[in-house]
Symmetry: C2
Subunit: 549 residues, 2 copies
């Protein structure tokens, strides 16, 4: 078991090093057993209106849970064991020494075993994700299942490589002229301590497991604090991990689930606890900024950003508008990678078949967005549902206070879930000067088509936006090589990656494990990256000892 | 030239990876030309009472300098060009784009060329170091010459490896069932911006060049802000670097020297400037703590610590006392690695020839310290001179207010420099309970022999001290394997390395390039390490771009 896990880790690391396509866990639901889907659905349904089983509950002080399905607009009724902060910390502290002393090889093998166990529950996790986040089934399956496992594997493999970078022991020999001075040295990776991983409501496993597995591979025990409205997917993951650790004779304190409620949050108390040394966070900027200021903590954040599209010149406008509409509609614009502001010159754009005016571009995007939402084969599956009421209200309000609405947000018919909370993107034409309208994050299905002086102006606005407000993606459509170079230089200088001329099956939203760094860490959208060496090395400290004779 | 530099970098990286002994630049003065020493001395003497030549002075607003030789207790009279902060930043900003666009290979080759040029001035740098820091000639030569160059090379080689870790471009191909989706991707290491490197008075090059070369290899232009009393050694280094860059057609803004005075410091203004993104600092904890709190900066610190010796049981007490006396006396205890507190059980220690009482241990250490200071062949060369008056006064005051002085600090005769400011270590016996006496940093030649309940008590005090106040080294003398394991575990848990049973030519003070990590970065003595991958990777950001078709 151990050897094969290490081989798989090596393979994953080579893929990561080469930035090539690689899927450690198949992402196609058809690759699984024929009855896997039905069994997953059954398991999900059994968990409804019930106490969640499989998690360590010793020392719990009650059972809590308040998740609501965005597709059903009904509570799930699932209850999870809740713990005092002191109980969580105390269990973590007593597990820390054992976990630190567990060899890197064993840690790595156990963590791969955890992912294998998680993979057996991908369908159940998919339904759990659907009914907490509002993602469509297929996105729920991919994002919370194989893609999340691959991102976790990335942490394990980068972690394993960094931890084994230097020899454990050496004899250091220095010639001193008449004799050799020999020192026996060892080098230890010392874990920083307890790791707190704070999840978000929209991607409860994909955004949680990279930090969780990075902390664990580097010897830090972890407390996972999910969003109170998106617990079930990660609860299944943690339960499987606790089972694997228990079978290996390790205490449940190696990884714990810390559930709370919106009314009684425990995140600050956990984050500020002196024994918590590492914090991983995905969520809004205000809380992320607060976490980053805590002293004596190593903090990894993915916060909000404002993603831009620079529309300069295109070959085939229909293909471009279709791609943009999909990118903006996928999971109703609730992806951190979704575009928000589309910058278009006042004079319009060149295409292979002549120019399109600004108004024609606006109309083209609006038509593509509405067409997708109304397409009975595409709409519901692409848009999914709106995770929470606040987002739904933001869409309504943004539309109602704008003069330039080119496509109104509409409800999307969902035959399977007639009560689903849905909203297609509102598309709003706005002048660049009206920065109060577009120059801030509008989370959800909201697209501004911003009229600029020219493409250079578009670029300067996009770059400034990324530098000031953060950006996780930028998309550029251009047939002009010089301009494309300018865009790459300027956006990269704001630590923002650029995707050029995506059409067809390539979407700006998708960041592939082993190949695309997710969040650069260099602008206000976050201070860390899935997954570079930094993401690993900030979690432990090298200490070398020397011995004479 | 370029190929050979890259080969040398590879060789240095392999040494670093294997943690083996390696000297890229010979550390033995005899390895240099016969007249090198005389020429170096001449060059140093020519610089006295003169404007320093070789540094870019365009746009300077005057000439300043106030260095004083601790050996002569006379001003050196060397003046350096001074600049406004705006001028420094503006030159740096205009150089940044060029330097970022310079390929990693070219940057690496140029930086190695800089070190080769610096090596030609090792003897001059040695005299410059002597007469600013008070180090003996031999330490000045080693620390500011070959050892500093090796530490710089470590940054170059680790930097080169990290920057070339991933391919620059790949074709990413994902099978989508009926077709392949292909994206052309590139990956860029984007420099964070302007780097400020703040030097200290005692090791003006050794502590400056690791951060300087790490920032430069990763594409960040740098401003070096030396301590106003220790400018000359690093001025020579920066002058050689500016010459190499100028010959390559690069502007002086790639590396600048920002000289100030004690009365009119410019460090805060530089550090707080919005364009300064990276700060490297060596010095006192208060200023280091302030730098660490600055927002939107990446800060690397080496601050103060309190280093412990745990004396449990020994084979040969004379060898141990001799080694301790040397470690405490080397450069008059002004090394960040020097021991301060020697913990000894009240019942004394076991030796191969019976027990020694606590009082006998105190007397043994005191005798060894005084014997070394009074040894005409060893004293002056080991102790050097006291860099500044404050340290000299601290030694006097600490002695005068203590009841337990076992060895008084004495002046050390220096035949070559009769006016040298010297002080041998004061050795003070103190009870563990008297924490006001020993539990804080006493920079300089001050040693406390702290009486503890037993060795377990010694360890708990040393570990707590490291965790609370920081520690860069810890020394343990023990013949008990179980106890040694406890010491390693407990001190490592406070992120402090341990050196066991050093006698003879092995001294706790010495941290060898390519093998010993210097400062762990995990306790209050600093937040960074010479040189792990983190030391490099925090200085730049990976950004990946994708292109269709």
């Amino acid at each position: 078991m151990s050897n094969s896990a290490i081989q798989r880790i090596e393979e994953a690391y080579q893929a990561q090093l080469q930035r090539t396509f690689y899927a450690a866990w198949p992402e196609n639901p058809k690759a699984y057993a024929e009855d896997a889907n039905a069994k997953g659905l059954e398991a999900f349904q059994r968990s409804l209106a019930n106490n969640f089983s499989g998690l360590d509950s010793s020392g719990s002080i009650g059972w809590i849970g308040e998740e609501v399905s965005p597709f059903l607009q009904q509570g799930l009724g699932i209850q999870y064991p809740s713990f005092s902060v002191d109980a969580l910390i105390s269990k973590a502290e007593s597990a820390q020494k054992l976990w630190q002393k567990t060899s890197v090889e064993t840690r790595a093998s156990l963590l791969v075993a955890c992912l294998d166990k998680v993979a057996e529950r991908f369908f159940e996790i998919a339904y759990a994700t659907m009914h907490t986040t509002g993602q469509s089934f297929i996105m729920s399956f991919q994002a919370s299942g194989p893609h999340a496992n691959d991102r976790a594997m990335e942490s394990i493999s980068m972690g394993y490589k960094e931890l084994t970078r230097f020899p454990e022991t050496v004899n250091w020999v220095k010639n001193m002229g008449k004799f050799d001075l020999t020192l026996h040295k060892n080098y230890k990776s010392v874990a920083k301590g307890i790791s707190l991983v704070i999840g978000c409501s929209t991607f409860p496993t994909w955004n949680t497991v990279p930090g969780l597995f990075a902390s664990l591979i580097t010897g830090n025990v972890s407390i996972v604090k999910p969003h109170p409205k998106s617990i079930l997917p990660i609860a299944i993951v943690v339960a499987e991990m606790q089972r694997v650790f228990a079978e290996a004779g390790l205490p449940a304190g190696v990884v714990q689930l810390a559930v709370d409620t919106v009314a009684k949050p425990i995140t600050k108390e956990l984050a500020e606890h002196k024994s918590v040394k590492l914090i991983d966070y995905t969520g809004g900027s205000a809380f992320g900024d607060y976490l980053e200021t805590l002293s004596n903590k190593t903090v990894f954040t993915e916060k909000a950003g404002v993603n831009s599209v620079i529309l300069d010149s295109v070959q085939d406008p229909a293909a471009v508008f279709g791609n943009l509409a999909f990118a903006a509609s996928l999971y109703s614009g609730q992806m951190c990678t979704a575009p928000q502001n589309v910058f278009v010159p006042a004079a319009g754009i060149k295409t292979a078949e002549g120019s399109l005016s600004y108004d024609e571009v606006v109309a083209g995007i609006a038509a593509a967005v509405t067409g997708l939402a109304q397409n009975p084969k595409m709409g519901a599956g692409t848009l999914g549902a709106i995770q929470n009421e606040i987002t739904a209200n933001r869409v309504k309000e943004t539309g109602s206070k704008s003069n330039g609405v080119a496509a109104a947000s509409i409800s999307v018919e969902n035959a399977e879930f007639p009560d689903a909370r849905t909203a297609s993107p509102v598309v709003i034409a706005v002048d660049a000067a009206d920065i109060e309208a577009w120059k801030h994050e509008c989370f959800g299905p909201i697209v501004f088509v911003v009229k600029t002086t020219d493409s250079a102006h578009s670029l300067s606005l996009a770059a400034a936006c990324a530098a000031e407000l953060g950006a996780i993606t930028c998309q550029c459509y251009s047939t002009d090589e010089t301009f494309m170079t300018d865009v790459e230089d300027a956006m990269n200088a704001s630590f923002t990656p650029v995707s050029f001329n995506f059409t067809g099956a390539a979407f700006v939203n998708q960041h592939a494990a082993y190949s695309d760094f997710h969040v650069s860490g260099g602008n206000p959208s976050g201070n860390a990256t899935f997954t570079d060496a930094l993401y690993i090395n900030r979690r432990f400290v090298w200490v070398g000892n020397r011995r004479m004779g």
